[in-house]
């Protein structure tokens, strides 16, 4: 058995050390070791985006990252999205726009959409759909998700 490794990462702003085997994915460690169960397991092969997190600022599928690769990394999960007193504006827009049904894909969509709006605060519908192509939703048909992202972007540009 390969030895367990100590990995030091910053997760949602908190320095965190954890032990893992080389064969454990970041998704498994987040959920089963660190109890960040907001990150969901969907397909586990990089198709659905339910396990999307930020790794050093970039969105990745955490099912396709080995946890041992994350030594020294900054990781952001859905648990780091809301502020202490209020939801993140995207979370609020998803709620108000009913941009979810079963909710399994929602953390991944929110983490990805936040990355999109940071990079491009006023995306077109096509840009939103292209950027979120790596996130699958089997409930909504996507329209309400796209509209929630548009509504959030529009509200932010008014301020």
């Amino acid at each position: 058995m390969a030895k367990k490794r100590v990995v030091s990462a910053v997760i949602n702003g908190e320095p965190t050390d954890f032990l893992c085997e080389p064969r454990q994915t970041l998704l498994e460690v987040l959920r089963d070791v660190l109890d960040f169960t907001g990150t969901k397991e969907g397909c586990s092969n990089g198709n659905c985006g339910a396990c999307t997190v930020r790794l050093n600022g970039r969105i990745v599928d955490s099912c396709l990252v080995l946890a041992v690769e994350c030594d020294g990394a900054e990781i952001e999960t859905i648990e780091g999205m809301a502020g202490p007193d209020a939801l993140h504006p995207l979370q609020q827009a998803f709620l108000e726009g009913a941009a979810l049904q079963c909710g399994i894909c929602t953390p991944g969509f929110l983490v990805a959409a936040k990355a999109l709006l940071e990079e491009n605060p006023n995306p077109t519908e096509q840009q939103i759909r292209f950027f979120l192509a790596g996130n699958l939703c089997r409930c909504t048909g996507y329209d309400k998700i796209v509209r929630a992202v548009q509504a959030c972007a529009a509200a932010a540009s008014e301020h």
């Binding site: 064969r23 994915t25 396709l64 990252v65 192509a133 996130n135």
Partner: protein, 299 residues
């Protein structure tokens, strides 16, 4: 996932030593988007995973008078965000932009796409068009292999035990040249090419006559192909000459060896090969004239 060991060397020599010691039982990890899925499903069971992302040579991304040096571990999103690549090596940027979704592009490298050696790898027809050379390091020293000779069959390549791909090197682009990669898929995004075509075209001063061309074909044979005759028949003729484009399409169809599978039939792949060769050559020529391309991936 099966049990394996993991190392993350910081020099090429350490990586070669680790790979050589495990004699074929080690596998390089760059973005992991193929390898981790293959290990999860048991298709690959390496005893050692060698994370190559900390080796400086594999992170190079330099466009200069000497051409393009692309380290094997550089993720797709860095490739298409690089202005020099987007400007002069546009076919490669086109391919990098449509490999998976953003989450995949932030991890998956062009070098990994090459080493995974799928006949349908999106980056390879673009690399063929841009005359890429694979720079390989190993226990017996470095060697260089032109991209079109790197592949030996589906999933197979010329890398020997202990060897790894260090970088892809592309020559400087001549004046009045342009390139493009496009694939056919039945969806808008996130799919594997049914047929993929990359082309680079250099025009004469008149902006119409083809001075030189290179055409790469994907997903239509056990390995990606350099379609030499298809490019040769264009030379000296106008890109507006329908007969010239039709001759190139026919020449491309003549060298493919497609299969029937869930993505398409032989007859369909042959037809689409011809259609895409014409469209991609036209688009590469438009870029060679400095025109921007009205092209949205997936549409």
């Amino acid at each position: 996932m099966h049990d394996f060991d993991y190392v993350a060397p910081t020099t090429l020599d350490e990586a070669i030593a680790a790979l050589a010691k495990h004699d074929g039982q080690a596998r390089c990890l760059a973005g992991g988007t193929d390898l981790i899925d293959q290990m999860r499903t048991g298709r690959r069971r390496p005893a050692l995973v060698v994370d190559v992302k900390k080796i400086p040579e594999l992170n190079a991304l330099v466009v200069s008078d000497d051409g393009l040096r692309l380290g094997a571990a550089v993720p797709c999103s860095d490739v298409y965000r690089n202005e020099g690549v987007a400007q002069d090596y546009a076919a490669l940027a086109d391919a990098a932009r449509i490999i998976g979704g953003i989450q995949i592009q932030n991890r998956a490298s062009i070098g990994g796409n090459v080493c995974n050696s799928s006949p349908a790898a999106d980056s390879v027809p673009a690399l063929i068009a841009l005359q890429a050379v694979c720079v390989i390091a190993g226990p017996n020293g470095p060697r260089e292999v032109p991209i079109e000779r790197f592949f030996t069959g589906p999933g197979g390549n010329v890398l020997e035990a202990g060897e790894l791909l260090v970088e892809l090197r592309m020559p400087p682009r001549p004046p009045r040249s342009g390139s493009h990669y496009r694939r056919f898929i039945p969806r808008n995004e996130m799919d594997i090419a049914v047929v993929g075509v990359g082309a680079s075209v250099q025009l004469e001063d008149d902006g119409r006559t083809v001075a030189a061309a290179r055409i790469g074909l994907g997903a239509v044979a056990p390995t990606p192909l350099l379609a030499e005759e298809a490019a040769r028949v264009l030379v000296g003729r106008s890109v507006d000459d329908e007969a010239a484009l039709s001759d190139a399409a026919e020449a491309a169809r003549a060298v493919i060896r497609p299969i029937d599978d869930m993505r398409g039939t032989k007859a369909f792949r042959s037809h689409v090969t011809g259609v895409l060769v014409q469209r991609v050559v036209r688009a590469a020529a438009a870029r060679a004239r400095g025109e921007s391309l009205d092209y949205c991936p997936g549409h």
